[in-house]
């Protein structure tokens, strides 16, 4: 990566969760880029929106697993 990361560099680092493994100066450069670039900020916001929406879809009220649990526990009893 160049000293000043491009939008392409920033999107790649963010979308692949690679930021924590980058050296400190790259992380700083990416942060600074995000402060200055509204397109990349919008991109990050989109990914955040997607993640939060998917969590909302699947983390709502969980379907009851009581009967399934009972059935698995019976299998355990039979086999042990």
């Amino acid at each position: 990566m160049n000293i000043m990361p491009s939008c392409k560099d920033v999107t790649a680092a963010v979308a692949s969760d690679d930021l924590p493994r980058r050296p400190w100066h790259e992380r700083l450069a990416i942060r600074l880029h995000l402060l200055m670039c509204r397109h990349c900020r919008r991109y990050v916001k989109q990914l955040a929106g997607i993640a939060s929406a998917v969590r909302g879809l699947y983390r709502g009220k969980p379907p009851s697993t009581d009967s399934l649990e009972k059935s698995i526990l019976e299998s355990i009893k039979k086999r042990s």
């Binding site: 930021l19 924590p20 942060r31 990050v44 990914l47 997607i50 993640a51 998917v54 697993t65």
Partner: protein, 218 residues
């Protein structure tokens, strides 16, 4: 003061950009003595594991694209395999990692058949076309506003998830829904950190592009 701000900027990792990291479930499930109890197939230990992880396993299976009945069947099958192999558990990974690994292999076996005829766009090429030669946005994101609470947008999100390749989708589910750490996901999917990064990059961009095509962003 300035130095402190710089430190804070640098110290934040990617997840801090948009998500909070949950603390891994531990309770007594990290207890080394549990390994021996599992290997001896002690019913109380096995039952406690079923009670602790069944809802998570069913949720992950549904997140990976299985219908409710399919998800319950594959969850049951996951625990049966776990039970059958309990005496080989060496405790080198968390029980949860082991269970998710079994679940992942079962879903991939199912999906391999279903996905045989399926073709998907190459998201890498789509992303290449988004930037100019200098790596600046050529066609930037138009908006980040979307009403994810509306039924219509949720349906479109569901459709876009359906189009994602199974392995990428499972990686996404383990990261975003189950909040697992990179190292644990890599163990479950048996991939390197770099491979996982590529999968997450592709699935996130695939979802983003798909939602854009469907006119979700305001």
């Amino acid at each position: 003061m300035v130095a402190e701000r710089v430190f804070l900027l640098v110290a934040l990792d990617t997840s801090a950009l948009w998500r909070s990291q949950s603390v891994a479930v531990s309770i007594a499930f990290d207890d080394p003595r549990l390994v021996a109890r599992i290997r001896q197939r002690e019913p109380e230990a096995l039952e406690a594991i079923v009670r602790e992880y069944l809802p998570q396993i069913v949720r992950a299976a549904r997140g990976a694209g299985l219908k409710t009945q399919e998800a319950e069947d594959v969850a049951q099958s996951t625990f049966i395999t776990f039970l059958e192999k309990a005496d080989t558990f060496e405790g080198r990974s968390l029980v949860r990692t082991w269970l998710f690994g079994i679940l992942f292999r079962k879903i991939m076996e199912m999906r391999r058949v279903l996905d045989r005829e399926r073709h998907t766009d190459d998201i890498d090429e789509v992303m290449e076309s988004r930037f100019d030669a200098n790596g600046s946005w050529f066609t930037p994101p138009r908006s980040a506003e979307a009403d994810f609470y509306s039924r219509e947008v949720r349906e479109r999100m569901g459709e876009c998830l359906e189009e994602a390749p199974p392995k990428q989708r499972i990686a996404f589910v383990l990261r975003e829904i189950e909040d697992l750490a990179t190292e644990e996901i890599c163990k479950i999917l048996e991939v390197t950190v770099t491979n996982l990064g590529v999968m997450l990059y592709r699935v996130r961009n695939r979802l983003r592009e798909c939602l854009e095509t469907k006119g979700v962003w305001g």
